[in-house]
């Protein structure tokens, strides 16, 4: 973070998006936008969180460091952002406590933007979670973190193709050294304000037999709640016997969707 605090001419230049950043720490009573920070364990989510909010959530190099969720805030370009650091998970399809916290927040908390942090060096494995998140929300930004470390291992990510494949903006960062944070802020801002439209990737190659069953359930859900962006995912969860989702449908928690 110390990288960001140096006052060089670049930092105060109007062209530098980061010059428009004001870290708020935990002062986040009213906010214009809510940002969720999701990702696999040990991808540097907490470091991204710290560099945006100016908070000093303890980070450590072992999976599962963030238990529960942390909140912070910042002002960018006049808009007030509240940011929720979700626990790191490998998937959203099991019933462990941290997966439920992450899943429920993205589903019911309806964040304006979800930042999905992935490790550039382990992109394939990390994409599993990213693809699941994209079934739930269509306003997301992929943050390919730890690019410097990946580079050391001679790995590079074609972010343009990745963005095209996933249908969401992709930003390469190294949060630890402050690389790409300015870009991330600007992209999140643009997605939140609707300046960038996302057309997220939806899971393909589902066996025909299953896909038809899913479609049937999905149509029923859409009949009940016409404006739901994630009816397919809810159909997935219903077929998986997810009790939380069944309960939410019974309570009508999906009705007030935007």
């Amino acid at each position: 973070m110390s990288n960001n605090q140096k006052k060089t001419p670049c930092d105060t230049c109007g062209q530098n998006p980061q010059g428009r950043l004001k870290r708020l720490g935990v002062e986040i009573e009213k906010s214009d936008y809510v940002i969720a920070l999701a990702g696999n364990p040990n991808t540097g989510k907490s470091t991204v969180f710290n560099s945006l909010t100016g908070l000093k959530q303890h980070t450590g190099n072992w999976p599962g460091k963030t238990v529960g969720r942390a909140e912070g805030g910042y002002i960018f370009d006049g808009s007030k952002y509240k940011m929720i650091d979700l626990p790191g998970t490998y998937s959203l399809m099991s019933t462990s406590e941290d997966e439920e916290i992450a899943r429920n927040f993205i589903l019911f908390g309806k964040p304006d933007v979800t930042i999905i942090v992935v490790d550039a060096g382990r992109l394939e494995r990390n994409l599993n979670l990213a693809l699941q998140i994209l079934e739930i929300t269509d306003k997301a930004v992929l943050c390919v973190n730890l690019i410097d470390e990946a580079k050391r291992h001679n790995i590079e990510i074609d972010t343009r193709t990745l963005s095209k494949e996933l249908g969401i903006p992709v930003v390469a960062t190294s949060a630890l050294r402050g690389i790409g944070i300015a870009d991330l802020l600007k992209t999140v801002d643009e997605v939140a304000k609707g300046e960038i439209k996302c057309t997220p990737h939806r899971i393909k190659n589902v066996p025909k037999k299953i896909e038809t069953e899913v479609k049937k359930i999905q149509d029923k859900i859409e009949n009940l709640y016409p404006n739901l962006p994630n009816s397919r995912w809810i159909a997935f969860r219903l077929l998986d016997g997810d009790r939380d989702i069944i309960k939410a449908i019974e309570n009508g928690e999906f009705i007030n969707d935007k």
Binding site: W62, G64, S96, E124, I210, I217, L224
Partner: protein, 472 residues
Amino acid sequence: MNKEDQINQLISEAAETRWEIGQEFHDKLSESIYSNAAEIAEKTVLKDHEKENFNLDRAIDRIVTSPIWGFPIMFLVLAIVLWLTIVGSNVPSEFLASILLDNVYVFLKAQADLVMPWWLSGFLIDGVFLCLAWVISVMLPPMAIFFPMFTILEDLGYLPRIAFNLDKLFRKSGAHGKQALTMSMGFGCNAAGVVATRIIDSPRERLIAIITNNFSLCNGRWPTQILLSSIFIGAIVPDEYKTLIATAAVIGVALLGIGLTFLVSLFLSKTFLKGEVSTFTLELPPYRKPRILQTIYTSLIDRTLIVLWRACVFAAPAGAVIWLVCNIDIGDQSIAIWMIEGMDQFGWLVGLNGVILLAYILAIPANEIVMPTILMLTVMTTSIAGYGEGNGVMFELDSMSNTHDVLVAGGWTFLTAINVMIFSLIHNPCSTTIYTIYKETASTKWTAIASILPVIMGFLACFLITQIANIL
């Protein structure tokens, strides 16, 4: 058809379909997601295979998680950290003590006696200030050395390797492999370790992890171990081996704690908390070069100062209470003497004494203040020191050897030191941890078990050690 019926129909239809496609659904969907991810990664990850020759991380992992070298390396790392702490904290400890006790205390006491009644100067200077001074001089140097080193290990990525090495033992004990991580957190702070057990999904295994976390020596107890080991155990060998033996003793206690973690886990999983061991995947993260200076800075600010502050917050009122129980008389002697005498017989039976037991009661809020409390109670209730009482010989508690002299004057022997080290490992968690356990388990019963079980075990252990020592 109204909405409610539609909803019920939807749910029952989903349930029916679920029976038809069954388990296959979850697996097939996972497969689709994996194949999608692989496809995208194929297109976007550019790997330079030419340069990809030697993977340092994997090479290191092969050594530090190897069946042969894994454990010796773990012990070696622990030994180096402790040895550096013991060697390094000696000088600053003496320095702080000579400033705070020899100079500031004497000065403050002289000034206070001029302007305050004796009871107020006693309460403030002999009670509150003296306890604070002891906490700072005894606790600060080891913490300031131990924490940054521990944090560097954590940032480096060594903790998951420890978890990997210990996983098998934990599973054999009927506990969750991730307990290795929460146990490691406990070496920092038990309350933090208890909170960290949230990473364990199964309630049964989580309870085991919560109850046994107390056997990880926390940062409130490391200094007690290091201090006693330096002045009693190091003293029985020639000077050149002193720190080595002292380090070995502290490691021994820490390992005993780990051993007890396994034993108690096994006991619980065979009796009250029977059940299957759940499997999990543990990712070994890449090693990351820790940013040494920043780590030292943040671990000093985040951990050392916070822990020290906590110790001071508890030490100040504890100092006041100590002074009060030592100076308020019931009948012909002070409350402290009554309590100490009341517990003395039981204390000696288990190889401790009344002062130590009273100190452990007064120090329930924070383990950090056990040693300072013992020292204060000893000087105030025996006639050896000039502190507080104003008579007797003036002791200069500015070096370890003088701490040794005070404790010996209080009736300590080598055996007492061993017993206190053992009891410091095996006794009730501090009040913060107890409260955290209650919050995490929401159960009075488990909180009570987690609090009382270790005390009973501790007394038993000390009793056995003492009786065996007496026979020998």
